[in-house]
Symmetry: C2
Subunit: 207 residues, 2 copies
DNA sequence: ATAAAAGTTGACCTCGTGGTAAGTTTATTT
DNA sequence: AAATAAACTTACCACGAGGTCAACTTTTAT
């Protein structure tokens, strides 16, 4: 109770709106999402939503920003000291955890990229580019030292991204095929084991 | 000239509309796509588009159906006779080829799944489920025979799907990071080699 | 206690878009 | 050549959704 009072009304409303907006944008797409529906899910009148965010685009931007921040925070870093095996294990685990913890964020991001990243700022793109080239260098170093198989580092990163995000983005398809309605803790552990195992072996770091 | 005259006017118009619609639905989403814009890109008046397809949803359904058919046709089959190595090679190659040949189709399908497969018929989902369990059995057979590493077949299929489709769905991101505006033949071959190599090694079928 | 700031809301306006109606032109059949 | 069907087109309508506004209430600072 006390804790909540510390939050300003603004912060609480904004939080509710963003949570509602995230779901709405995922299921309906940018244009398909309506401010009214976001308002309903947030249990606020439409005009109130528009009081906190001037317009629909601002809501979407806020959701995107939130998503990108989460991506940054949750991503386990790849550092030379860890060596290839530990680094890859950590990274894969971090990505999978994020995928299962907040699939919506992954979906928002995926849709944005698929549609051509129309709303994504330039800085977000160049930032990623730098991140990839930086980490690729570390992998290349390990390869040169003979610490891991000679696999293209950039494509390795893409492979890890795609395989880990897949379970969030395509959860619908996967759950249908697995015959479940949602992921159990079991599934998550099994998938994590499968992916780390497979990727390590692909990098020549196992058996 | 003669060839074109064989096609009825209807067939030609429908083709133009579907091609235009595919691009429009990818870049704008279902709700964001406008019949007017589809008509413009197809170089037809809006009313003419609605003459061939009763309404927008029908256009989308037609695009989806076309996409699913392509998915079916292009998919290299996995048969026991090939053995694990050849089968996986063939399958990966087939999927990559499709991804680079028609990325739009992959994107449409991806967005549909991400958004919850609201427009996808039940039969399409159960069909996939059957396909996966059937092919998983073949993999399991090879594993039991000691022809390949013990990796979970279903997740292996997911991994192949995700890695191959990734290059189509996220081409925007990937090209930005690679610093190109589009894929060259070189890139495609390099990616194909990387993926087949990595996946085969992951399955214990190399070195 | 009082003023200012922040929050809340129903009513309203405008514009874009899906879809229709009704008619004209072009192709096909007999 | 006439008649029938297919293809095409213009003008229009209805409606949903984004966004504004002004009145009102609550909260916060002095």
């Amino acid at each position: 109770m006390q804790k909540k009072q510390h939050k300003t009304i603004r912060a609480k409303s904004v939080e509710k709106i963003l949570a509602a907006a995230q779901g709405e944008f995922v299921s309906q797409g940018y244009k398909g999402a309506t401010v009214q529906s976001i308002a309903d899910q947030a249990q606020l009148p439409k005009a109130n939503v528009l009081y906190y965010f001037k317009n629909k685009e601002n809501i979407y931007h806020a959701v995107l920003e939130q998503t990108l921040n989460m991506w940054d925070d949750g991503i386990g870093d790849i550092v030379p000291e860890d060596g290839p095996k530990l680094a890859i294990e950590k990274f894969v685990r971090a990505k999978i955890t994020m995928s299962f913890k907040n699939p919506q964020a992954s979906k928002i991001y995926a849709m944005e990229i698929i549609q051509g990243a129309q709303h994504l700022q330039d800085f977000a793109r160049t930032y990623q580019r730098q991140w990839v080239t930086e980490k690729a260098k570390i992998f290349q170093h390990w390869i040169n030292n003979g610490e891991m198989q000679c696999v293209d580092p950039v494509n390795l990163i893409f492979l890890i991204w795609s395989t880990t995000q897949h379970y969030a983005d395509f959860d619908n398809q996967i759950l249908t095929i697995m015959g479940n309605s949602h992921y159990e803790q079991n599934d998550i552990e099994h998938i994590t084991a499968f992916l780390t195992d497979f990727i390590l072996r692909g990098c020549g770091l196992k058996q």
